[in-house]
């Protein structure tokens, strides 16, 4: 039996070599690549950068210790192991009990290593906590509120038009648009359970905790489209509670603001044109529960996709949109949603005033296009388990025909 052992070792060595080769020659098993949309290793803002720098310090310190300690450990194991039968039965070695000097030295060394980590840690704690004093004046304040399972963003300093006389702070959801180069101070709040606000490329997370006035700050160094996600377990659909941050240059940001501050857009009625093709919706397709909601086209350049979304859809069908607008009221959508300037003052769901100008819906889960919109309003529960809109469908007994859905989608898409 014992002879099997060396064989086994040889096999496993061979297997290990094979696996390494396979991985290296790229069977796409490149698990060490850390450049995804939510990477904390490729960052775009000073807060995340500070956090990354600190992380790198800890990596180096522990790596050096690991190499030293591990080296000695490996050497000891190798050097003093019993190799032969004779070794096995050798006289026991000297029964030494320890050496206080060695211990003290090692303790001293460990403390030193910790000091190397502690200093940048302390520095970073103060730096990442709040907007640096020098930049305070320039900071832009936003309140982010977590809901099961989506995010609401309130621009405290921007007054949006409701009608000629009434203004309210600007509210959007699930896509947070910020100006590049300005520190953003975000108050994080929640209406229900604990959520967490996390845009890895811009800053580490801060939890949204009931009855607690948390905040964080971040800054985007360059224009971009950043992925974010709720990072505290908050119930059924925690995994799909996502959001986006779009950072724009000052001019673009102001343009965007101007557009947002206006009330919802109305599609100008046009003379009926029998030749113009009406938007076609694929006959209702049943999606798999967790089928991906994002297309590859979108992937290539999300920021460009976002910019495209700002312009009105081509070939809008005013009639259809008008029907949709009607349905939006009659089908009780308004009980939860607000479309500023149109109908509805609901606050249980995301603000939909400019929903057509977003790239994603359902809290970053689905791309905002006809298919996904229709998929969403057809049966939100199938897309996002347990979500509150599905519950609303049950309570309010909302039933939509295919034609209703088409109209609603057209309406939603028109809301730029």
């Amino acid at each position: 039996m014992l002879k099997l052992l060396p064989n086994f070792a040889r096999w496993s060595r061979a297997a290990a070599a094979l696996t390494c080769m396979a991985t290296l020659t790229g069977c796409d098993l490149n698990f060490w690549r850390m450049d995804g949309h939510q990477s904390t290793m490729v960052v775009e803002g000073p807060v995340a950068q500070e956090q990354l720098n600190l992380f790198i310090v800890t990596v180096w310190v522990t790596l050096v210790i690991f190499i030293i300690v591990g080296g000695v450990f490996a050497y000891a194991t190798w050097k003093f192991r019993a190799r032969t039968e004779a070794d096995e039965h050798a006289e026991p070695p000297p029964q030494g009990h320890g050496n206080p000097l060695v211990e003290l030295g090692l303790i001293g060394g460990s403390v030193l290593a910790l000091v190397i980590i502690a200093i940048p840690t302390l520095k970073a704690i103060w730096f990442t906590y709040d907007v640096p004093a020098a930049e305070k004046a320039n900071a832009y304040e936003i309140t982010a509120t977590g809901y099961q399972w989506w995010f609401r963003f309130e621009y405290l300093t921007e007054q949006a038009t409701v009608d000629a006389s009434v203004k309210t702070p600007l509210v959007t959801s699930n896509e947070l648009v910020i100006p590049v180069g300005r520190p953003i101070r975000i108050n994080v709040r929640t209406v229900d359970v604990i959520h967490s606000f996390w845009v890895p490329k811009l800053a580490g997370k801060v939890d949204m905790i009931p009855n607690r006035a948390n905040f964080l700050w971040l800054k985007a160094d360059k224009p971009g489209y950043y992925w974010g996600q709720c990072a505290e377990y908050c119930g059924d659909s925690h995994a799909v509670m996502r959001f986006r941050v779009v950072a724009l240059g000052p001019r673009e940001f102001n343009d965007w603001l101007d557009q947002q501050l206006q009330t919802a857009r109305n599609v100008a009625p046009r003379p009926a044109d029998a030749n113009r093709p009406r938007p076609q919706f694929a006959s209702l397709r049943s999606f798999r529960t967790n089928e991906t909601g994002i297309t590859e086209r979108f992937e290539v350049d999300p920021l460009a996709s976002w910019q495209q979304k700002q312009a009105p859809e081509k070939g809008e069908d005013a009639e259809l949109v008008a029907t949709g607008k009607q349905l939006f009221s009659t089908k009780a959508c308004i009980s939860c949603h607000t479309v500023r300037g149109h109908a509805g003052a609901g606050v249980a769901g995301p603000d939909l005033t400019h929903v057509g100008a977003r790239t994603t819906i359902a809290a970053g889960l689905l791309e905002n296009n006809h298919e996904q919109l229709q998929r969403w309003i057809h049966n939100p529960g199938a897309v996002k388990p347990g979500n509150k809109m599905a519950k609303g469908y049950v309570d309010n007994k909302i039933t939509l025909t295919a034609a209703d859905e088409a109209a609603l989608v057209a309406y939603l898409e028109s809301l730029k």
């Binding site: 014992l2 052992l5 496993s12 290990a16 098993l29 690549r33 949309h37 990477s39 290793m41 956090q51 992380f55 310090v57 800890t58 522990t62 690991f66 300690v69 591990g70 450990f73 000891a76 194991t77 003093f80 019993a82 026991p92 030494g96 009990h97 320890g98 050496n99 211990e103 090692l106 303790i107 460990s110 910790l114 840690t121 302390l122 970073a124 704690i125 990442t128 906590y129 604990i194 996390w198 997370k205 801060v206 939890d207 009931p210 009855n211 607690r212 948390n214 905040f215 992925w227 377990y233 908050c234 059924d236 925690h238 995994a239 529960t289 967790n290 991906t292 994002i294 992937e299 347990g386």
Partner: protein, 658 residues
Amino acid sequence: MDALAKSAFLTKDEHVPTQPKLLTHPTTKGGLMSWLTTVDHKRIGFLYGISGLFFLLVGGFEAMLIRLQLMVPNNDLLTAQQYNTMFTMHGTTMIFLAVMPMSAAFFNFIMPLQIGARDVAFPRLNAFSFWVFLAGAIILNIGWFLPQATHGAPDGGWFGYAPLTSKQFIPKHSIDYWIMGLQLLGVASIAASLNFIVTIINMRAPGLTMMRLPVFVWMTLITSFLLVLSFPFIAIALVEVMMDRQFGTFFFEASGGGMPILWQHLFWVFGHPEVYILILPPMGIVSEILPTFARKPLFGYPIVVFSGACIGFLGFAVWSHHMFTTGLGTIATAAFALMTMTIAVPTGVKIFNWIGTLWNGNLQMRTPMMFALGFVWMFMIGGFSGIMHSAAPADAQQQDSYFVVAHFHYVLIGGSLFGILSGIHYWFPLMFGRKVSEVWGKLSFWVIFIGFNVTFFPMHFLGLNGMPRRTFTYDSNLGWNAANYIATIGALTLGLGIFIYFVVMVYTYFKGERVGRDIWDARTLEWSLPNPPPEYNFRVIPIVHDRDAFWYEKHHVEEIAKEKIELEKVESAHGGIHMPFASIWPFVAGMGLLIGGLAVSALDSNPAPGMHLKLGLSILGGVVMVIGIYFWSIEGNEGYHLHLDADGNPIEDPHAKH
């Protein structure tokens, strides 16, 4: 004066009246009844061990489902609900029902043997602890077998952050089971730990001073202290959520001014010491195994002991490092970050001393040694990622990401579990008189070792690449596909490894090679016993002359033999070996808690239908428990005396009292 007889233990019921029928002591030595009534610390150890291993499989199965779900993006093997239940139960099961009871198994089985005691200080309390543990385990898991819509297994995460656990957000009873289950597990742990503390402090063999205690015993002691001092906090926290859920109080209810953050503090005041509760016993085990197979004493014994105590103490001052992202403010964050870092020092000391133990040794690479060495490697890596977490700003990116998952599985599996698996291998011959085959043992080690690293190493990268934990699904565009796929393959390998491990153990139990006493040429007292050790453990209580007591005995054979004869004479003059009576009452009391606990958590408090049933059953449970405790207290704690023949077999003498 006759000191033995003076013990309050023996003399109290000096004039035993003829016992009423109800109080006759059970004497069966076999069958179910003997297990329900046993007060023998070794048998109780087995009960803990078997339950722990069983729940390791359960928790492992849950882990496999988790990994299979995450194998590919947008997978729908499990629903969101099922997945959330799965990781909650996986975490809770592994920590409270697998690793802790397996540690308790060693505390029970090994610790009294190592200190030269015949039993623990309070044998019936020990049995009670186990039955309460079992009741807690049953309540925790009962939801699997009940309607999922209204009951279901717990799904609030293993640290059950308020207010998600409130009735408003999870109206199902799943959370009630979680609360009650943990509460009972806490009772069990506190009772058991009090017992161990008294045992270690008071029941040591003569000559066994504290600074001669085997390191495993020291770690048992420190762990027990951590348990009795940390569990109260979670107990109170659980009481508070329970009140919130059942009586509408506002402890964690923001609408009434409550602060849910308080739950996090109360939980982690318990939670952090808890992780040291999970690691210190395996550290003790490894500190036994390394010297044995290096064939030299532990390097720097006093420092290892002291650093263990340090870790335990510091463990109470770092809890907020789990809350770095909750907006503690700069000062608190800095304080907890620095405190957390200091823990690296005593822990490092242990690592250095283990390496020092190997140095100049004569290392015999047997299976337990392989697991122990694996432990040191893996724990070190896990410790390093712990240190990375302690840098609070960096942790803002890592918290609740797979980087944390990687960290704690390195310390929990690579640490705790490896330590326990090595302990099983090490003491198997003592427990069953059979030895695991080296080939199969090493095979299982390598499969587990490789599987483990393949599973969890990539998770570091996943975490840094922004994958949050507790997500039942992920999109394919985030660069997480490869690592998740590999991790799942690794997990299957790991599962295979554990499977082999189990099969080998079962095989060995029935068919393994029989071995004699002390097959490892070990150093501590338990190896001086025949295997399996007799009910009474020690024919004569030994006198301890040195730190590695048995090693000393083996090198001073004649002196010890003479001494033993003397001691035996003295002891038999005092009536021989004193044994505690078996008793059914701890079991009865435990079952009362089970019934009451189930009733309280399973039934609705408001409107009527279930109300009477609930009240009735809760009262029934209470009554059964009180009956158990009442009879337990009046049956008295006297025992009987054993007399041995030359071979160490008890001579039948059923009437021998005292």
